[in-house]
């Protein structure tokens, strides 16, 4: 191992990190001969101030200061470039003296204000969620992504709110075209107040009429880190605990962070389950209308008679029944969402159990319909990201309407139309839906 000169090491570090916005570099001491370098978002500036900056002026010369630093607990000698970079990215501050470099432990540990992920909870794995502070959030990402190629660009959006927005990406892996597009779009946002990632996401999309989210809004740092490694761009917004990830593909919305933790077989199983759930929640209402009103011959005779029997007392056509119950279900979901936590479960019980039971007994709704509505609701909740969940909730009505008009034909038309529509979507120029499973290269491809 070649011992590098201390000055050379410090220069190299400065060169490597100079385009990081949170890289800080100072000269200390009365004679300005000691160099101090650290990452602002990772290093506890209080520690640096109290134990490094202040003593450097109080001690009589650089020699004494060096001895003081070397004696500091947790201090490491910077032997080579690799150690230096590694420690600096961990949050150590590097001090460069005439002949040696030291790495002082001043790691900022953000634990205050970091809550547990509420919206995307998982069984195992990290529970942290982003906090409201952008510095903290960058710190959380950096702690999980210790690579010098991770870059963060800062911008300000909002004429009044002056919200800080950070674009995070891995310089070595990012898709340049997407990055350029993202910067262009953020710069083009002209508004007064920006407070949430959801708003930002809305301003970043070009299409005015759209149904499907083309960016992920997440509260999980581990999801962000995972996507950074895939070369995606992440946008963090100050005073907001959510990050925006772009570009995204359709299947990203059906990936929970659990899938990475599980045994591969289980992960696959869960993924397939979600797609089955998606299919059911989309088509069940429409299929019920079809079976009950257009094509009772599709099902087995027993099932058809069962439906006919349970519908015998219902005084209105099947689609009224479907829409009535689906609407009730939406009300129930919304109500339990907005209510204070203490009352939420009560609403569900009253609505779900009592209303459902009473409605069938009164003969207003068929038994099968109650089963169906619950199945639709449950399979909708299976979608890991709530944004997609909301979209799917809307889409199923479109399919149901087409089923009223055309029966089975309507359902097939709408499903094919949906696939075509999704294939036509682009997220920052990248195809939104394609079969990534089938991405293999044949011999002789150019």
């Amino acid at each position: 191992m070649v011992r590098k000169g201390s000055g050379e090491l410090s220069l190299w570090l400065a060169d490597q990190l100079s385009d990081q916005i949170d890289f800080e570099q100072l000269k200390l001491g009365p004679s300005k001969e000691v160099g101090l370098q650290y990452m602002r978002s990772l290093t506890n500036s209080d520690t640096v101030k109290r134990y490094v900056v202040v003593p450097s002026y109080e001690l009589k010369d650089a020699k004494a200061f060096e001895e003081y630093i070397a004696a500091f607990p947790g201090t490491v000698r910077a032997e080579d470039r690799r150690t230096a970079m590694e420690y600096v990215l961990k949050g150590f501050a590097m001090l460069t003296f005439a002949s040696r470099c030291y790495l002082v432990d001043a790691v900022k540990v953000e634990s205050s204000g970091i809550g547990e992920a509420m919206n995307e909870s998982i069984v195992q794995g990290p529970r942290d969620a982003f906090s409201e502070n952008i510095e903290t959030n960058i710190n959380m990402v950096r702690r999980r992504y210790q690579s010098p190629t991770l870059k963060a660009d800062m911008l300000t959006v909002g004429n009044i709110s002056r919200t800080t927005v950070a674009i995070l990406y891995d310089d070595a892996r990012v898709n340049r075209q997407v990055l350029r597009e993202m910067k262009k779009r953020i710069e083009a946002v002209k508004i007064d107040i920006l407070q949430s990632s959801g708003e930002m996401e809305k301003y970043l999309t070009k299409e005015r009429f759209r149904v499907f989210p083309t960016m992920i809004v997440t509260e999980r740092p581990d999801r962000v880190v995972f996507n950074l490694a895939e070369g995606k761009v992440v946008v963090l917004i100050n005073s907001n605990g959510f990050a925006i990830i772009a570009p995204t593909v359709f299947s990203d919305f059906f990936t929970a962070m659990d899938d990475k933790i599980q045994v591969p077989m289980v992960g696959w199983f869960l993924k397939i389950t979600r797609y089955i759930g998606l299919f059911l929640t989309l088509t069940l209402p429409g299929l019920y209308i079809t079976f009950a009103s257009y094509n009772p011959e599709i099902l087995k005779a027993q099932i058809s008679l069962l439906i006919a029997g349970s519908r015998a007392g219902v005084p209105y056509p099947s689609f009224m029944e479907v829409f009535l119950m689906l609407l009730m279900m939406e009300f129930l979901t919304e109500a339990s969402l907005r209510l204070p936590k203490a009352i939420g479960p009560t609403a569900t019980t009253v609505g779900g159990l009592i209303l459902g039971q009473a409605a069938t007994q009164a003969g207003l709704v068929s038994n099968i319909m109650i089963i169906l509505v619950s199945a639709v609701a449950i399979s909708n909740f299976i979608i890991p990201l709530s944004m997609m969940g909301y979209t799917i909730r809307v889409i199923k009505y479109i399919i149901a309407v087409l089923a009223i008009a055309f029966g089975l034909v309507g359902i097939v038309i709408s499903v094919v139309g949906l696939i075509l529509y999704l294939s036509g979507l682009r997220s920052f120029g990248q195809p939104y839906m394609k079969m990534h499973v089938l991405e293999f290269r044949a011999k002789g491809d150019r």
Partner: protein, 369 residues
């Protein structure tokens, strides 16, 4: 926004185009079985008597009751009879779940073709409808309601199909198969016979053989079993055989039959059947232990008996001039002289000789020797 509004209005417009056809499931009367007879009344001999079994869905699905109604109507044609029935029932008659069609025996002895045409022409009648002959007539069979039946018509469906009891005495025939046999050269239609016995028993253990148009011959219970055995592979049934002075019952585990049509230079044509199977002894009547030698003896006796029985069946079929097993089709499918093969076969058929080689092997003796 304008575009989506336009789209929405087009969809709504097309809804109204089709909206009037919206007919809920509870407004339909599902026909589960249909029976067709000639009226007994002599004056109405040329008319059709149609009986429908219609399921009545009950309000309480937990009860699983077996309510059904049977209605009968006589008219000039089947569609006409159904039109007349519409006025007698408050719901739309829906044939899409019709699983069984039963032809009365007297009707089957007359002419089947118009109904075969009608049932495959109507879009809502499935091609996988089970076909049968009803004795004494179709109406009795349709109206019989066995007590253990949960779903209306289910007993009939299950006894004719293969998913319920796998009876070796029932020849399952779907309507597409019936039609195929009616049309095809070199294979003739067959149908199982269902007999309604008092008070509420349905028995299907005979098979009717048809020429292209009408019922010609009826096979007995045992012949039916042999016919079914030859028609399908891996068929399970048991036979009774005498060997070494005692009676044995054996049960077929696996079974295969294949045949070749051999033509000798002298113009004599032989149909060679090779039958092989594995069986288990089910009962040894006098309790004689079944050792290896005994097993061999029983196998031999069983094979010989099977050969004799099959031979007898073939002779009966040949005498009737019919071809339920499709020998004619096999003959022409192996001959490339397409213009003349049909006439050749017709010439050959009366003089056909049969050769049956049965090779049954009793492999196991059951749980005891």
């Amino acid at each position: 926004m304008k575009k989506s509004l336009l789209l929405l209005s087009i969809i709504l417009a097309s809804t109204s185009l089709s909206g009037c056809q919206f007919k809920d499931i509870d407004k339909r009367a599902f026909v589960l079985a249909i029976g067709i007879d000639r009226p007994e009344n002599i004056e109405k001999q040329r008319k059709y008597e149609v009986t429908l079994k219609i399921a009545v869905p009950e309000g309480d699905p937990a009860k699983r009751s077996q309510a059904s109604i049977n209605i009968t109507e006589t008219a000039e044609s089947v569609p006409e009879a159904i039109r007349l029935m519409k006025s007698r029932i408050d719901k739309e008659i829906d044939f899409s779940h019709c699983k069984v069609i039963v032809f009365g025996e007297s009707f089957a002895r007359d002419n089947l073709t118009p109904i075969v045409d009608w049932s495959s022409r109507r879009r809502d009648i499935q091609l996988i409808m089970l076909c049968a002959i009803g004795v004494p007539n179709a109406r009795k069979v349709i109206e019989t309601q066995p007590r253990n039946e949960r779903l209306p018509g289910n007993a009939l469906i299950l006894s004719l199909g293969k998913e319920g009891s796998e009876s070796p005495f029932t020849s399952t025939v779907y309507s597409f198969d019936l039609r195929r046999r009616v049309k095809e050269r070199g294979i003739d239609p067959i149908m199982p016979i269902v007999e309604a016995r008092n008070p509420d028993l349905l028995i299907s253990d005979k098979t009717a053989l048809f020429n292209k148009k009408k019922l010609v011959e009826i096979l007995t219970t045992n012949e039916t079993r042999l016919l079914n055995l030859l028609r399908s592979s891996n068929f399970r049934t048991s036979f009774h055989v005498m060997a070494e002075g005692t009676a044995f019952d054996y049960n077929l585990e696996t079974f295969h039959s294949k045949y070749k049509i051999k033509e000798r230079p002298n113009g004599q044509t032989t149909i060679q059947y090779r039958i092989s199977g594995r069986a288990v002894t089910e009962e040894s009547e006098s309790g004689v232990p079944v050792d290896a030698a005994m097993m061999k003896a029983v196998s031999k006796a069983a094979s010989e008996k099977l050969e004799r029985d099959v031979m007898q069946l073939f002779k009966k079929i040949q005498a009737s001039g019919l071809d339920p097993l499709g020998w004619g089709l096999r003959y022409s499918s192996r001959h490339w002289n397409n213009e003349t093969e049909q006439q050749d076969w017709e010439r050959l058929y009366p003089g056909l000789e049969f050769q049956v080689n049965a090779d049954l092997e009793i492999k196991y003796t059951g749980m005891i020797l």
